[in-house]
Symmetry: C2
Subunit: 354 residues, 2 copies
DNA sequence: ATGAAAGCGCTAACAT
DNA sequence: ATGTTAGCGCTTTCAT
């Protein structure tokens, strides 16, 4: 450690071979003949710095493909612009991401996040341990979490909220809910769908979907309410609680066709299930809308191009993405969690018109 | 700065009110009555530590929702398990993520990454500046990049590769390619599809898709090759270079129907385009497969349930995800970039059977 | 088995 | 307008 005088001569000669690691601020500083602080300020666009010096430094940085190390910067600044987006999976079925609706919802969130200068960390967790979604927050990797669906873990989510984890879920509005959520008005959507079918003269309407899942459950409630409002009783045996598996709707249709009571309409809790079921029905010789009417939910891109085009309750994914992100930021700004609802309507297409 | 003797008595009393920030290692150390080093070791599961001490510390951590700060840890360890997945967008159309195929490919990548203990950073970039995809790498946010599609930026990508950015692209194998890629054998796929249509007796086969995009271009080459092999000439006016917009295929069908030459089959470069086009044709009174045969590409989940079920060249997204991740890791391990091809076959369904 | 101290790459007072 | 220094939260020698 020979002590050196003030001139910026390092103990090592300038021609030291670049070390294996990547180029970093010191290297740029050395090349520019300034201190790291100057480089730091130049990279941050500080006006304190001499324009020419800044120019020289930023060009040096560009030509060396140097960018400020985000991890170190975040650590120092105690800032974080990353949002963790978590997609639960059913450990029973080991199901992979497949429903186009969820996928395009993720797209909507990605767009909203990108637009607002945030990064998106995408991960999957066991649907039975949704509280694991908080880990990205606890490790400081993310400033907050967006969770796709609450599944059966309402209580876990409430607990997470009490612990102060900033998160928003895409899903239903549940009683005693302590956390922020964004979602369709599922009861209303289910009501609209069923009401429409009843108006078209349908009387034996199957419900396709597992009512144990909060959103589907609420759509089912709407289905029941519509029956009630019309002075009718929904036949419980027409509720088909199919699991979220690719061929489950087809099998349900076959079972119904063989052993089940006759139906003249169907309300499917998702377009995906509807399309699969309609295909199965066609193979069984039952045609939509001639033999039975169909309404579904989501309005994925293909719903309008299906055969027949599907009458459905749209869930606008772009708006959903915007709302989820806005809700999360509101939470982070100290506002109390709110439950937001997307406008809910019915788009009538051929599948429900005779 | 009163100097204090060796005993672990901080200048501040132990009962200092928890500062606004989150709980961190010092806090756990204080609570456990040990040093931060001990906590660090305990959290890392070091065997050097007394089992009881470790037990006490981990429990303390859990009850306080403490997790080691990932950013600081990565900085110190110079490690990184994050992979950046980049989806290009067309700035012209400001198109958002919509094709179910891309979305499910992302799902496949997410699954592969999760399975191998990696994090996934999802972002979008302007398709004209694909080299921006490298920024997550340069800022140290990600250890490498997976790029979905090469668009028109083959040269930019080659430049990125020469600069040593570790990345793999999902896409076509191009001449003079310096970067790693994974993709379907698009020429072969296009050949298989077209050959099959010719065998079914089709003679005027439309090609739906923009051949300027590398993957579509190669499928188009396969289409031409199949014609040639059969001693036929493909009519250039049957190549319909539709942009990647939701209603473009429908408009192409209408134009073709009004002014265009008659066709007896169609090879669509994606299932999405095929489904949209088939719907449009139906409105025009042209039915599949009675009036014309259709083959497409991707085999998205709905292809089998469409009406009619689509004959298509599958692109297995789960395998693709695995391969992309494996390729990236091979690259990171110092292996040279390779171009890998997924097995390519044709699944025949009703859309191409008379 | 545990602690003290240095340093990962960076930023921001506080100098000058 | 620029440099010096301390420290963000952590891990790891090196001591003991």
């Amino acid at each position: 450690m020979a002590r050196s005088p003030s001139p910026p001569l390092p103990t090592e000669p300038a021609a030291a071979p670049a070390r294996p690691g990547r180029v970093q601020m010191v290297d740029i500083a050395r090349l520019a003949g300034v201190s790291v602080s100057t480089v730091s300020r130049a990279m941050a666009g500080s006006t304190l710095i001499n324009p020419e010096t800044r120019q020289r430094i930023t060009e040096l940085a560009r030509s060396h493909n140097y960018s400020v190390n985000a991890g170190a910067q975040n650590l120092r600044l105690k800032q974080n612009r990353t949002v963790s987006v978590v997609v639960p999976y059913d450990p029973q079925t080991r199901q992979h991401l497949s429903d186009p609706f969820f996928l395009s919802l993720i797209g909507g969130i990605a767009d909203a996040l990108t637009e607002q200068g945030h990064e998106m960390l995408l991960s999957r967790v066991d649907a039975n341990q949704l509280d694991q979604a908080a880990s990205a927050y606890h490790t400081g990797r993310a400033m907050g979490v967006v969770l796709i669906g609450q599944w059966h873990q309402h209580d876990q989510l409430n607990a997470m909220a009490s612990q102060g984890v900033p998160f928003v879920v895409w899903g239903a509005q549940l009683p005693d809910q302590l956390y922020a959520s964004v979602g369709s008005d599922n009861v209303e959507g289910g009501r609209l769908a069923t009401e429409h079918l009843l108006q078209q003269g349908a009387r034996r309407i199957a419900f396709l979907g597992d009512p144990d899942l909060p959103e589907f459950g609420q759509r089912h409630q709407g289905y029941l309410q519509a029956h009630e409002a019309a002075g009718l009783m929904a036949d419980p045996s027409l509720t088909l609680p199919v699991p979220m598996l690719p061929d489950a709707p087809a099998r349900a249709m076959e079972d119904l066709h063989r052993h089940g009571p006759p139906i003249d309409a169907m309300f499917a809790a998702s377009d995906l299930m509807a399309m699969t079921a309609v295909g199965a029905l066609r193979r069984l010789g039952r045609h939509v809308p001639e033999d039975l009417l169909v309404v579904s939910y989501d309005d994925i891109a293909l719903a309008a191009h299906a055969h027949p085009p599907l009458t459905t309750v749209p869930q606008p994914v772009e708006a959903a993405g915007q709302m989820l992100v806005a809700s999360l930021k509101a939470l982070l700004a100290g506002e109390p969690p709110v439950r937001r609802t997307l406008p809910t309507e019915l788009i009538v297409r051929d599948s429900s018109r005779r």
